[in-house]
């Protein structure tokens, strides 16, 4: 009788039967191993959580200060019911990890979200050899090929300098968790004071308190003198472009950092002045490289261009199957966000901003990356 697979796709998580542990469950469970703190992977309500130690400040911020959370270092082994688990750097955001699962000589890796380029914030991705590799495919089409990040950061630097010379504010949108820390660590800070929306400000404070080397941000409040915005940089989550909040920065230029900005259509639809093609996910060449370096005999493709990428792998001699999960698909979550904005209207957005109830702010404005 063939043994059942080490990890299974149960429709509510990636599940290890032998250990009775779930990876990134989307419903409350007993034991949840979390790849990273984005809200589509780290969901509320489980009894016990296990994650990398760098994820702790964010998980406590988002899931509640009192959650039962065990943290580990990268490479540190822990055994549940004879199954050996360890977390390995995924390079996606602070604390992001691939979960390596070993049992009776068979190794599976659930990689969560990842990228191969070193962003100087997250610990860089490390390839983990395995028999079965579970990969995302958010940008799993050959049209997605990122430029070296330094080129993008220079673009941002120039854009800010240009706006400054024209007396305009630079409002830069991107996901609060991940993208914003990456930007702060890599662009040239042209001012001492960098302004931020509440969602980003709160997260930044938490991470600084936890010892991460990030610059201090200044929260934009109703009282902030509007004249101060002239020429300065304001960091904001991606949903603000349809809010009234943004009007206070007039005159401003609106920039957006996202892998989706690679396409003209997406850029024009967002109606941003400047799209910066910056993603925390692997592009097509790196996706293929990661699969290759895992040396896996079998690959499961989750969120993104699942059917396309698995067909491509199969045609190239790597057995692959597509799996439907509730993770990411940034495309969809972005759409969801847009729809939410429409239904929520602008007042509620103002409320978010004012209330600064940390959990709700970061939770609802920064949907899944």
């Amino acid at each position: 009788m063939p043994a059942q697979p080490l990890l299974q796709f149960t429709g509510k998580s990636i599940y290890c039967t032998v250990a009775d542990a779930h990876i990134d469950p989307w419903i409350p469970v007993d034991k949840a191993i979390i790849t990273h703190a984005h809200s589509d992977h780290a969901r509320w309500g489980s009894k016990h959580y296990l994650a990398h130690k760098d994820s702790e400040p964010i998980l406590r911020l988002r899931l509640g200060p009192d959650i039962s959370l065990q943290t580990v270092e990268y490479g540190e082994k822990f055994v549940i019911n004879g199954v050996t688990f360890s977390l390995h750097p995924a390079g996606h955001i602070i604390g992001s990890a691939q979960v390596r699962v070993e049992y009776k000589g068979e190794v599976w890796v659930a990689s969560g979200d990842y990228k191969l380029e070193d962003d100087h914030v997250a610990v860089p991705f490390e390839p983990v050899k395995c028999n079965v590799f579970i990969t995302e495919s958010t940008f799993g089409l050959p049209i997605y090929k990122w430029q070296p990040q330094q080129e993008i950061f220079s673009e941002i630097d120039n854009w800010w300098a240009q706006n400054k010379s024209e007396g305009k504010a630079s409002v830069l949108m991107g996901y609060s968790l991940g993208k914003m820390q990456r930007i702060l660590k890599n662009i040239q800070l042209q001012d001492d004071i960098i302004y931020a929306h509440g969602a980003i400000f709160t997260l930044n404070e938490r991470l600084r308190a936890a010892g991460f080397d990030l610059p201090e941000l200044t929260l934009v409040t109703r009282e902030t003198d509007r004249k101060l915005f002239k020429g300065s940089l304001i960091l904001a989550p991606p949903s603000v472009d349809s809010s009234t909040w943004i009007r206070k920065f007039n005159p401003y230029s609106l920039g957006y950092c996202s892998g989706w900005m690679a396409l003209r259509g997406a850029k024009n639809r967002r109606a941003v002045d400047q799209g910066f093609v910056l993603s925390d996910h692997v592009d097509w060449p790196d996706l293929n490289r990661a699969v290759k370096e895992s040396e896996a005999e079998k690959v499961y493709v989750t969120h993104g261009y699942t059917s396309i990428f698995s067909r491509w792998l199969n045609e190239n001699g790597i057995e692959a199957g597509e799996v439907h999960t509730m993770y990411g698909n940034e495309d969809e979550s972005e759409e969801e966000e847009a729809v939410q904005d429409i239904s929520a209207g602008q007042e509620s957005y103002e409320e978010h901003k004012e209330s600064l109830d940390e959990d709700t702010v970061s939770h609802s404005t920064d949907r899944a990356l």
Partner: protein
């Protein structure tokens, strides 16, 4: 090329009219005269054809990127634009150091038509290797066309007028008609103040605005002319230097397409320009547009076609007599002049005046408006008697008062992703009505009519309610109902429904209706019976 590619990307990025004009103006102020002329060629829709086969170009790009064709197609569906897909998919291993100008590239492309397939391939690959991603994208647009960047001719004219400090009306006139960047110069075309204008050059058309509010708001009826708004092809007929030219509004020289009107060369005095509508015409009355449609686009006008869909010209304005520009005269004066010219032409059913409608009160016009469809008209044109003939769409003197479109409630059943600004969003829809067997029968495709917010909501629904995939097309759970408007209806053997509608578009989203409450094919056939 770098400069032009930058202009293109910047134009693409903004949807503010003033910003677009400013960008083009700066380009016209800084680019070389040669490049300006080629840019103008593109902006006014005169891109030369280089006789390349799109399928071949796709294959070359896929080979170069080392991916199978199906993966290329999937990528194309996601991007929605072929030129852009290729620019993204090519390996970034080139030199990107080309300093060729826009003009150089046009001459480079000009070599293609004489080449073998193999040579074409090498020629194009060589170009791709030298260009950055954005430049490759623009190059592909030059190569394969569809150069849409949301810049209307009016905006180009405005930018050019500002850059050269010339009256926009003069510029509008100069860029019209037949010219080829290979045998003119920017100087000659735009700046030359001499009267060496070529004989075929049409005048810019004066276009009407849709009427706002009630027609009676226009004031004293005695100040206005009213004519039927004909459902044909707006055209200018020019007879100069013993040569006849027929221009359609799309700025196409279509003289050969209308042999019925060639007799005008024998009867019009030299230096005459008429404005009017070419319509299908049988038994002394106009026919619906779909009769005319059967001969548009045909290369060979067979005897049969000419017999089944004859045309006539309904003149309603005159812009030039004896070589003198009449556009500064009033509508009333021009009408008198037009009637004079018409009187002097021996009677021919193919050349008629568009009659003025007799009305002393707006109420009379209101009543007649209801008879538009019976008169094979789309409503009325209302023209101020004191109006000069202006350039482009101007408010105030010419109004169009159109009849409401026919409409029917239909269910959304298929969707496909759009392109350009709408790439990655499902925006191309197919609609169906209920057939006798209780099945939905598709009858129209429509792209426009929803707001961006609605498009977002419909897209959200579609992505969660896909039933089947056929290539780029998704079968969607039949749930959403829309009111679909159309201008005309006709029998069609090509469509499953047996019906073809003209200019279908979404009038509104019937959120109040369930799919079962949508209209039936019978209802559609009922409309056909009344209006065919």
């Amino acid at each position: 090329m770098k400069q032009f590619a930058e202009l293109f990307m910047n134009l693409d990025r903004t949807n503010k009219t003033n910003a677009k004009v400013e960008l083009m103006k700066q380009y016209f102020l800084s680019a070389s005269d040669e490049d300006k002329l080629w840019a103008l060629t593109l902006f006014t829709g005169r891109r030369p054809s280089f006789k390349v086969n799109r399928t071949q170009v796709k294959e070359w790009a896929a080979q170069e990127a080392d991916i199978p064709m199906w993966l290329f197609q999937e990528s194309y569906h996601s991007v929605g634009d072929l030129g852009e897909t290729i620019s993204l998919i090519l390996p970034r291993s080139g030199t990107f150091d080309s300093d060729k100008t826009l003009t150089d590239w046009f001459y480079y492309l000009g070599l293609l038509p004489g080449m073998t397939d193999e040579e074409k391939r090498d020629h194009i690959l060589q170009a791709w290797m030298q260009l950055s991603q954005h430049e490759t994208f623009v190059f592909n647009k030059l190569l394969m066309g569809s150069f849409r960047i949301g810049v209307s001719q009016t905006l180009v004219v405005r930018a050019l007028a500002e850059a050269t400090e010339t009256d926009p009306n003069v510029i509008a006139h100069r860029v019209m008609g037949q010219w080829d960047p290979k045998d003119t110069t920017f100087e000659q075309l735009i700046l030359d103040k001499g009267e060496n204008d070529n004989a075929s050059r049409p005048y810019p058309f004066f276009l009407a605005y849709p009427i706002e509010g009630d027609v009676s708001d226009l004031g004293d009826p005695a100040d206005w002319f009213a004519e039927w708004k004909w459902d044909g092809i707006r055209s200018q007929i020019i007879y100069r230097n013993n040569e006849l030219f027929i221009w359609t509004r799309g700025e196409e020289l279509s003289t050969e397409k209308f042999p019925e009107l060639h007799f005008l060369a024998d009867v019009l005095p030299n230096g005459t320009v008429l404005d009017g509508e070419i319509v299908s015409y049988m038994d002394d009355k106009p026919m619906p547009f779909n009769v005319l449609q059967t001969r548009i686009g045909r290369k060979n006008l067979s005897k049969k076609v000419l017999q089944e869909a004859p045309v006539a010209f309904l003149a309603y304005d005159i812009l030039e007599t004896n070589g003198v520009d009449l556009r500064g005269l009033t509508q009333e004066q021009r009408r008198a002049e037009l009637e004079l010219v018409h009187q002097n032409v021996p009677e021919q059913y193919t050349f008629n005046l568009s009659p003025l409608i007799d009305f002393q009160k707006w109420e009379v016009l209101h009543e007649l408006h209801g008879l538009s469809r019976q008169n094979i008209a789309e409503g009325f044109m209302i023209k101020r008697k004191s109006a000069t003939y202006q350039v482009g769409r101007k408010k105030g003197d010419w109004w169009k008062w159109k009849i409401n479109p026919l409409s029917i409630d239909a269910v959304l059943i298929y969707a496909q992703k759009g392109s350009g600004r709408r790439a990655e969003l499902f925006t191309d829809y197919t609609f169906a009505v209920w057939g006798e067997d209780g099945k939905l029968v598709p009858f129209a495709k429509a792209y426009s009519g929803l707001t961006d917010v609605e498009i977002g909501q419909v897209d959200y629904f579609i992505k969660r309610n896909v039933v089947e995939k056929f290539g780029p097309v998704r079968t969607v759970k039949p749930e959403l109902v829309f009111e679909i408007g159309f201008e005309g209806i006709n029998e069609s053997s090509r469509h499953k429904s047996g019906i073809a509608v003209r200019f279908p578009r979404i009038l509104r989203w019937r959120k109040d209706k369930k799919a079962e409450e949508a209209d039936t094919l019978d209802a559609l056939k009922g409309i056909l019976e009344v209006y065919k």
